[in-house]
């Protein structure tokens, strides 16, 4: 059965809290004016070290805005957000982002893209080349180090972007609909890859998506958001063991949970389509 729980009741309290989102609100446009849009309203979320969190919801529910706030690209209108007890004020290499459109640097090779964050740290040339090669191997792109982004496929670009985001050794990896621009088959393959990579690298992950099966397949905890205003409506713990493998997609619990989530989210999705 589906478990709906409140964030503060999360089990395994021994694991330290990494990201703490408290009563966060975000308003776009004129303050109090007619044009003001409430993107986020009283959002609470606690992310523990090593957790894989899926942020699931229809378009307009503010999930990407929330990710942008965690990244430090934008501030909050109300409430507070902390990382390891310190407020998040700006982008930092302890929280790297993987974008839907890859956002690779087109004028750099795959190798140079992955080295970017290491160069920023002031790491010596040989050391960063070695680390980048390891990460490129981790995302299975070996042999493509010297290719430019326009010379490789969409799936390969996203692998390169993941390696680039892992390079500064972040505390948390923020993924903003990373497989949204890929075809269905590539998407399924990369879901399994990210399941493997995240457990191998042992990273905390915040994964924004509007794909229900993708959210459930990858996450330890699915955070479901609802639109207008953007709110957290429920959280679902996923008891499936790690690492996640393809056959878990036919696990009865998985199938049932995906169906139940679809039934609860359907009205909102339909509402979103009509607007």
């Amino acid at each position: 059965m589906m478990q709906t729980i409140i964030a503060s009741d999360t089990p395994s309290t021994a694991v330290p809290v990494q990201i703490d989102i408290r009563h966060v609100g975000k308003v776009f446009g004129g303050k109090g004016g007619d044009s003001a849009v409430i993107a986020l309203d009283d959002v609470n979320l606690t992310i523990r070290k090593g957790e894989f969190i899926s942020l699931l919801g229809p378009s307009g529910c503010g999930k990407s805005t929330l990710l942008g706030i965690v990244a430090g690209f934008q501030g909050v209108s109300s409430g507070k957000i902390e990382q390891n007890g310190r407020p998040i004020l700006r982008p930092e290499p302890s929280r790297t982002v993987v974008f839907q459109d890859y956002a690779l640097f087109g004028w750099m090779t795959v190798q140079q893209n992955v080295e970017f964050g290491l160069k920023a740290k002031g790491m010596a040339k040989r050391e960063r080349a070695a680390i980048a090669r390891e990460l490129i191997a981790l995302v299975r792109l070996s042999g493509f180090e010297d290719k430019y982004p326009h010379q490789i496929s969409g799936g390969m670009k996203q692998r390169a972007a993941i390696a680039r985001a892992l390079a500064p050794d972040p505390d948390i990896l923020l993924m903003d609909e990373p497989f949204g621009a890929l075809d269905a088959q590539t998407r399924v393959l990369l879901q399994e890859e990210i399941a493997r990579i995240s457990s191998e690298a042992g990273k905390t992950v915040l994964f924004v998506t509007h794909g229900i099966d993708e959210a459930v397949f990858l996450a330890d905890r699915v955070v479901v958001m609802s639109p207008r205003p953007g709110r957290v409506r429920q959280e679902v713990n996923v008891p499936l063991p790690r690492p996640r493998t393809a056959e878990m997609r036919s696990d009865p619990w998985f199938v049932q949970t995906v169906n139940e989530l679809w039934e609860t989210l359907k009205p909102e999705w339909q509402k979103g389509e009509e607007e």
Binding site: A71, P91, W107, G143, I152, P168
Partner: protein, 276 residues
């Protein structure tokens, strides 16, 4: 399109494609040369058979003779050198000012709101219309030429830089920031290379306009340079030297833009605009 085997070696198809590309390029240069040669051949033919009066337009052979004579006595190089130096200085000033203003108005909306109407109102005034006031300000020296070249080149440089900065990919900037980019890295590794596909063609156009402006300036306000050569030869009824000066201007301008285009193709090889 991808090398699915994952080996760095080129597949036979890729080699064939490269060979094909090289062949095409050869053919295209060849076609260009054929076009230029036919132009001179037809010109020569029309003057030899008397369709064009040699007094109104000398034949290419006569023009080449005049160029040769001026090259031998050194006057061609002195004039060419003077023009090139002037265009270089004026163009450099235009790049500094145009890129700086383009950067600040592309980055800060507020600055652009103030600056763009002023620039858009100054831009349509042709450099020729600036000549009287230029002479009033700078007299008949090199400074007048620098200023006119600057005027011709600064606007395209500004517009290109402004457009490039406005078009920067927000996500790429954010990606760089969250990877911990230092300000210098943000500028040299992201901002500059991302802007070059738009800024370099703008600079090439600016240099072409600057080259036209320097000749214009020299026709009126200089004692050396290709423009001065044309003007002085006109007064001495040396029509061969007039056309020789014109041909030199054309060929040098062509060479400048060809060299810049080659640099663009190299620097911006990654950009969609350079891939066909």
């Amino acid at each position: 399109m991808q090398n699915s085997a994952g080996s760095p070696a080129l597949s036979p198809q890729a080699v064939a494609r490269q060979g094909g590309m090289a062949q095409l390029f050869k053919n295209r240069s060849l076609r260009g040369a054929v076009g230029l040669l036919s132009f001179f051949a037809i010109w020569q033919l029309l003057t030899s058979i008397g369709v064009i009066d040699a007094f109104l337009l000398p034949s290419p052979v006569a023009v080449a003779g005049a160029m040769w004579d001026m090259a031998v006595d050194g006057s061609l190089w002195i004039h060419l050198g003077a023009s090139l130096r002037r265009v270089a200085i004026g163009f450099l000033l235009a790049c500094i000012v145009g890129i700086a203003l383009g950067l600040v108005s592309g980055w800060w909306r507020g600055v652009a709101d103030f600056l763009r109407p002023v620039i858009e109102a100054l831009r349509p005034i042709p450099p020729l219309a600036w000549i009287p006031i230029t002479i009033l300000w700078f007299g008949l020296g090199d400074s007048a030429s620098y200023f006119l070249v600057f005027l011709g080149a600064v606007f395209p440089t500004y517009v290109a830089t402004y457009t490039a900065v406005r078009g920067l990919d927000r996500n790429q900037m954010n990606a760089a920031l969250c990877l911990g980019a230092k300000p210098w890295q943000l500028i040299w590794d992201v901002l500059v290379p991302a802007s070059l596909p738009i800024v370099l063609p703008g600079m090439r156009i600016a240099l072409g306009i600057g080259w036209m402006c320097v000749v214009t300036a020299e026709l009126i306000a200089a004692q050396t340079g290709l423009g001065y050569l044309i003007q002085q030869s006109r007064m001495l009824f040396q029509i061969n030297n007039v056309v020789a000066g014109m041909v030199t201007i054309g060929l040098v301008g062509f060479a400048m833009s060809a060299v810049l285009e080659m640099i663009e193709r190299r620097v911006n090889a990654w950009a969609p605009s350079e891939r066909s």
